[in-house]
Symmetry: C3
Subunit: 206 residues, 3 copies
């Protein structure tokens, strides 16, 4: 019989669940941003930034709790890494929204909405995985699916690049849009890194 990890880890699992929910909120905001008229972007970007600050606070709370905990459900460095990788997801979404606003990029290519949809699927899987961290071995399906989504996101990203460079846009416009699209691609990669951090915990516990 396995010894349950729940008692010692309850507070950690709670904090990770909170970050998972934060990320879910961030992705919804991102989808709204992508569809919104330009006039609404400044306000939506401000809301994303507030959410990024909240995610920073939650990450900080995990690290503080780590400082104070004598017993931890996993290796300290794995908790640390998972928190850092989750933070990366929000950072990239915030950067995408911020750059799109700063650069006044005008209408976004249709592929950006597809990127946002894929991030949404990854966020839902991640948010659902966080409350189940006590049994990391049972999260194999989550890890596999997020990896598949990242592969899909790669395809969408490459098609977007191809479209950006098709000669219809001038170079400065391409550079601006590419910065936005690159941040969303980095967010998809970051979801994969979160899943890898979870999987790496599962491998250690095997």
């Amino acid at each position: 019989m396995r010894i349950s990890r729940k008692p010692t880890g309850a507070k950690f699992f709670e904090l990770f669940t909170e970050i998972g929910a934060n990320i879910g909120g961030g992705v919804e905001l991102l989808r709204e941003f992508v569809q919104a008229p330009e006039a609404d972007r400044v306000e939506l970007a401000a809301r994303m930034h507030a959410l990024e600050n909240a995610a920073d606070d939650a990450t900080h709370a995990i690290i503080e709790h780590l400082d104070r905990s004598f017993v931890t459900p996993f290796d300290r460095e794995d908790i640390y890494r998972l928190a850092a990788r989750l933070d990366d997801v929000v950072d990239h979404m915030d950067a995408a929204v911020d750059l799109a606003t700063l650069y006044r990029v005008g209408e976004l290519p249709g592929g950006v909405a597809v990127q946002a949809d894929l991030l949404c699927r990854a966020a839902q899987l991640t948010a659902a995985a966080m409350p189940r961290l006590a049994e990391p071995q049972e999260l194999t399906a989550y890890w596999v699916e997020v990896n598949q989504i990242e592969n899909e996101a790669d395809q969408v990203y490459r098609r977007l690049l191809s479209e950006l460079f098709n000669g219809e846009r001038d170079a400065l416009e391409v550079m601006k849009l590419k910065d936005v699209v690159d941040q969303l691609e980095a967010a998809a990669d970051a979801f994969e890194h979160v899943a890898n951090a979870v999987h790496s915990i599962a491998v250690k516990e095997a």
Copy 2:
């Protein structure tokens, strides 16, 4: 007398050796691509992509074997990291070839062939090191040489950038070529990260 690591690690060393050979194949394909007429690029890129899929499968096999192994030749997380870093090498070579095809970049600057040659040397050293992972302390020369190659690659990369920006190309063409050249530079960095992962194992075993 040191206890041999071979019995417990045989399957791992076999799988890492297979990935090393894969990378060797990828680098050969890259050199062929760089020299090939544009008409052949789509087919060569498809072959690179098949090889990248094979590398993914081999990485997956290592992680599955890790899940099932009670005793491992090194720390689980080191095996995991080494597999991930090897995967990065193939990913960057695949991205370089894919972007060059997607962007229809035309003739590649001469420095790209030099980048491919340096990657080839790094790949040969890496492929030769993988079957010898059981004695990581004896791989110091490998680590030092890959670091030197990465330094050379840096120089070649900077000269290439200087050539790209010399005013003979328009901005969109520069952006496309820079994306390709950046991926090859990232592949050289990735070989260094592989060597660092091996060295980090050796340091722990010291």
Copy 3:
């Protein structure tokens, strides 16, 4: 009573202190470069490159000492990681200076001097922290401040991007300046990663 970490770690703390001082020198050179007339850039870039070589040697000395040490003040991999992250800082400053020289970028936007000033503050905090690594728990203020500086650097970076793309520069010039500015932003991130590596050691020791 905690057992002092000083006797076993003396040589490591000495080497990290040396690297901290190196970084301080690098940042001074960077500020000089940013203010210097274009005619002086080649020579200043050569001095930065010499300093980067010295930093490589110091990193190598740490790793060699790690190879030879039976007892280490922290986990071997944490010493390794901290050395690697410190090396990244110098690499990014060297790349910024090298690219600015290579590209003959002309006058740098005013925000670049602000980037250099922020790097200077991060370097001073880092140099002051290195001799105190024996008590990582007392470096919380250092970690918090470097994180704040990185946030400020992010703001400065975004404003710089906005200025670069305001339509007064042609696309090739924007690309060149963006490469330089990106490397300085990466240096600020690298200081944060150094602080995170220190914090991660402190968390483990808690």
